[in-house]
């Protein structure tokens, strides 16, 4: 069996195993698994409203996944997607609230501001890594907390008067679309999905087709050989982090300009940035893989809300299933071994 086929089968097996073990847990704890999965499915695709919500949920997940995947493909581990997302969210809302611009342009400026903010936030770990060889994982983790508390402070003192949220962004800056909402029975589906899909294309094109992408991948694989070949290793490390951060910032714009329309003080992380790690992992760090993985996670998350209502199964169970899927992807060595055994037997 070729490696390519294996790379596709492994995540699929992981999903199946995750659901399987989830089912066992339900049976053991005395819940009706069939009813639970029916409710899950109905909650995600049963009505056009739910489907709209799934796509809305998928939008930031795609961008967060791209962020992690892009960094990973260029040899970096960006754990700071969450922080970059929060910063991007705030920047988008800030532009949306404080500026007066014509429609479309206002939205674009706000979206770009989010990308820029995420990029700047990611520039810090990139710069520290390039200049002082400080490991990006440590810096990005710490910057997540910094982002959370700094944005909370700005919302409280600059963007509002001691309130726990900003005002709504101006109509001209919104990503919301009455057309898309009408299409999906008034879900919160917004134009962000288009931006996410453009992001997917950009990531693929940049990495696989451009001269810069060649350099980024080369530096990611082997800094010494890249230096020897005349590439500027430090520039590429910083650039890789900055581009990754821009994707994360865009994910924040999806929430700020699309789903919510404001930024509020957060007691904790949104989780979308961390889900991005799982999405990238499950999607094999490839553009199409990220879309599919985001779709799965989005459907699970939205569908889960329906489970307690329709089947009486607590929606935390979906968190367990997601955790199991991530576990099985991480333990993919096990699955590969299993596939090897089976395909060997098949030959004989």
């Amino acid at each position: 069996m070729s490696n390519r086929v294996k790379n596709i089968i492994v995540p699929i097996m992981a999903v199946i195993l995750g659901i399987l073990v989830g089912t066992i847990i339900m049976i053991v704890t005395g819940y009706d698994a069939v009813a639970a999965f029916t409710a899950l499915w109905n909650g995600a695709f049963g009505e056009i409203y739910y489907t709209g919500e799934v796509i809305r949920q998928v939008t930031p997940l795609i961008l967060a996944g791209l962020s992690v995947a892009f960094a990973f493909r260029t040899g970096l581990f960006n754990i700071g997607v969450e922080g970059q997302l929060i910063v991007g969210w705030l920047a988008a809302v800030w532009v949306g609230v404080a500026f007066n611009l014509p429609p479309v342009i206002h939205t674009l400026v706000a979206v770009l501001a989010a990308a820029l903010a995420g990029a700047l936030w990611a520039f810090i770990p990139g710069f520290l890594k390039a200049k002082f060889r400080v490991h990006e994982v440590i810096v990005t983790i710490m910057l997540n907390y910094t982002a959370l508390h700094v944005t909370n402070y700005i919302i409280r003192t600059v963007l509002s008067e001691k309130s726990d949220r900003t005002e709504m962004i101006k109509e001209t800056a919104t990503l919301r679309s009455s057309f898309l909402e009408g299409l999906t029975d008034y879900s919160r589906l917004h134009w962000g999905i288009v931006i996410a899909l453009i992001g997917v294309f950009i990531m693929w094109f940049l990495l696989e087709k451009t001269t810069r992408g060649y350099e980024l991948r080369s530096v990611g694989f082997n800094q010494h050989a890249s230096h020897y070949a005349g590439m500027n290793v430090n520039t590429n490390i910083i650039l890789s982090m900055v581009i990754s951060g821009a994707f994360a910032g865009l994910a924040g714009a999806m929430e700020g300009l699309g789903t919510f329309g404001y930024a509020s003080i957060k007691g904790g992380f949104t989780g979308v940035g961390f889900d991005g790690i799982a999405v990238a992992l499950l999607g094999g760090n490839g553009p199409i893989g990220v879309i599919l993985a985001a779709l799965l996670f989005g459907a699970l998350k939205v569908g889960a809300l329906n489970m307690p209502l329709e089947s009486g199964v607590p929606n935390e169970l979906v968190d367990i299933i997601i955790a199991l899927i991530v576990f099985f992807v991480a333990a993919s060595y096990m699955i590969r071994l299993f596939i090897d055994r089976i395909s060997k037997k098949g030959v004989k």
Binding site: R212, A229, G230
Partner: protein, 511 residues
């Protein structure tokens, strides 16, 4: 004659390649049997079949006359087959004893009985003349000692048949002598040995018989006593091989590289290159001879821009290139075959095709307006692969999957193809077999004959004497002598390299 191991008509296929085809190897009790073949000929595959890592598609393995199926390394172990790997499998932070017993610990209750284990290790090491300190940490002992630990590991597990995978590749000449002694002791104690190698000298010295494979096919087994290095080499490569490189006299012209008063510090901040003066002319090969660690690496790295130098001047065609970026130096007309091909020469996780444009990817026709043309890149790669005889399933194969010799050919193809005025070759034939070495030497001489300057760094005196037109001897960061290879001997070079003849020849260095 009794055979302890017989591999009869072994065939092993991988997708797209037949790695082993109808190979027969019969190991007699108490002999040292060489397995000879070029890089990528299928030696390792065959041994992995014997060790249970691969299953053959055809053929039979017999151990002491009994047909066996070796489906995993544990079975090989139980049959008394032990492997001494080329790349040691040791835990750096463990002691010698801890490494040896790993996976087969002697226990008393729940605790590991280290005392008893140490005693056992000491006994075995004395019996076979393998002097090692059982309590030393792996990180603290020399490479030669580490290899002894690997050998002890197999003996501790009761191996009767030892497979040595290119054991001398990492050893110093002194350590090689000791290893040969150890192998002879092992034979005396009743063990049998398969020695995987492509070094003909060693085969002639220690082996009884030699099985040759070429491009995955078994060529046959010869008695070493009845053969000579030339015959072995032609059996291995499939044609006559010349050891003495044929070349016309050099026609040196103007200086291409001129180095004056160069000072370079090493990674610890100590002066590695000390006021060095050197020039390389168009149309000549200048060889740098020296004992490893006398500033050669730092010299090459500072010429190519990989390391900053403190002071002095490096001129290429009259233009100062000192401390420019590697790209500027490359563009000024240098090519560099680096010492460490895995670290510097290749991006192992890139396809071999993409590695072929590692320095030129940003130029037309490979890149237009920032977008790569993979069609052009792979076309280029294909023609280079053909021209330089790089054996690879395709140009899309990852560089990692190629054998060392083919990786090196790919690098040389890439560097020579840019047609640089100065070609720097640092240990270009390290770890390669005679066929590949011959090929690479020819290419270097070809560059010289085309009027280019070649700077060759090598730790092999044979290579330096064979290929160079002039030899510069480096000692403690200085060029202490420049000699003519036709007028010098290995002995004289050896003395110069050791720094003991510095004064007498110092005056002759003004060339």
């Amino acid at each position: 004659m009794e055979y302890v191991i017989e591999m009869l008509g072994i065939r092993k296929e991988f997708p797209g390649i037949v790695a082993n085809d109808n190979i027969t190897l019969q190991l007699q009790q108490g002999e040292i049997h060489a397995l000879l073949g070029e890089n990528g000929a299928g030696k390792s595959t065959l041994m992995n079949v014997l060790f249970g890592l691969y299953q053959p598609e055809q053929g039979e393995i017999r151990v002491r006359g009994k047909s066996v199926k070796i489906t995993n390394p544990n079975i090989a172990n139980d049959l008394g087959i032990g492997m001494v790997h080329q790349h040691f499998m040791l835990v750096d932070k463990f002691t010698v004893t801890e490494n040896i017993i790993l996976g087969k610990e002697t226990k008393s209750g729940l605790k590991i009985d280290l005392k008893k284990a140490e005693q056992e290790v000491r006994e075995i090491s004395e019996r076979y003349g393998l002097a090692v300190d059982p309590q030393a940490k792996i990180a603290d002992i020399s490479v030669g000692m580490q290899q002894r630990v690997e050998i002890l590991k197999t003996l501790y597990r009761g191996a009767e048949i030892l497979i040595f995978d290119e054991p001398t590749a990492v050893l110093t000449p002194q350590e090689i002598k000791e290893l040969i002694q150890i192998m002879k002791t092992l034979i005396k104690e009743g063990k049998s040995i398969i020695l995987i190698t492509h070094k003909l000298k060693e085969i002639m010295e220690v082996c009884d018989r030699c099985t040759v494979i070429r491009k995955g096919v078994g060529i046959g087994t010869v008695n070493v006593r009845e053969t000579n290095p030339n015959e072995l080499a032609s059996l291995m490569v499939g044609r006559e091989v010349t050891f003495k490189t044929e070349k016309a006299d050099a026609k040196p012209a103007q200086n291409v590289l001129e180095i004056n008063d160069l000072v370079v510090k090493d990674s610890r901040g100590l002066t590695a290159v000390n006021n060095l003066k050197l020039s390389v002319k168009a149309g000549e090969i200048l060889g740098i001879a020296g004992v490893d660690g006398n500033g050669q690496t730092e010299l090459i790295e500072s010429i190519t821009g990989l390391r900053r130098s403190e002071s002095g001047s490096i001129q290429l065609n009259g233009k100062e290139i000192r401390n420019l970026s590697p790209r500027k130096i490359t563009e000024a007309g240098t090519g560099h075959i680096p010492q460490d091909r895995h670290k510097h020469g290749l991006v192992l996780d890139f396809p071999i095709g993409e590695n072929m444009v590692l320095q030129t990817y940003y130029k037309s026709p490979f890149s237009k307006a920032g977008v790569l043309s993979f069609k052009e890149i792979y076309q280029k790669a294909k023609s280079l692969i053909q021209e330089f005889d790089v054996r690879t399933p395709s140009e899309y194969t990852l560089a990692r999957a190629l054998s060392g010799g083919n990786q090196q050919k790919a690098i040389i193809g890439r560097e020579v193809d840019r047609n640089p005025d100065l070609l720097i070759a640092a240990q270009p034939t390290r770890g390669l077999d005679v066929g590949a070495i011959e090929f690479i030497h020819k290419r270097l001489i070809e560059q010289r004959d085309n009027g280019k300057a070649v700077l060759l760094l090598s730790f092999e005196l044979d290579e330096i004497l064979n290929v160079s037109d002039r030899i510069a001897v480096i000692y403690e960061g200085e060029i202490v002598a420049i000699v003519n290879p036709k007028e010098t001997t290995e002995q004289e070079l050896g003395l110069l390299m050791a720094g003991s003849k510095q004064k007498e020849v110092g005056e002759q260095t003004n060339v």
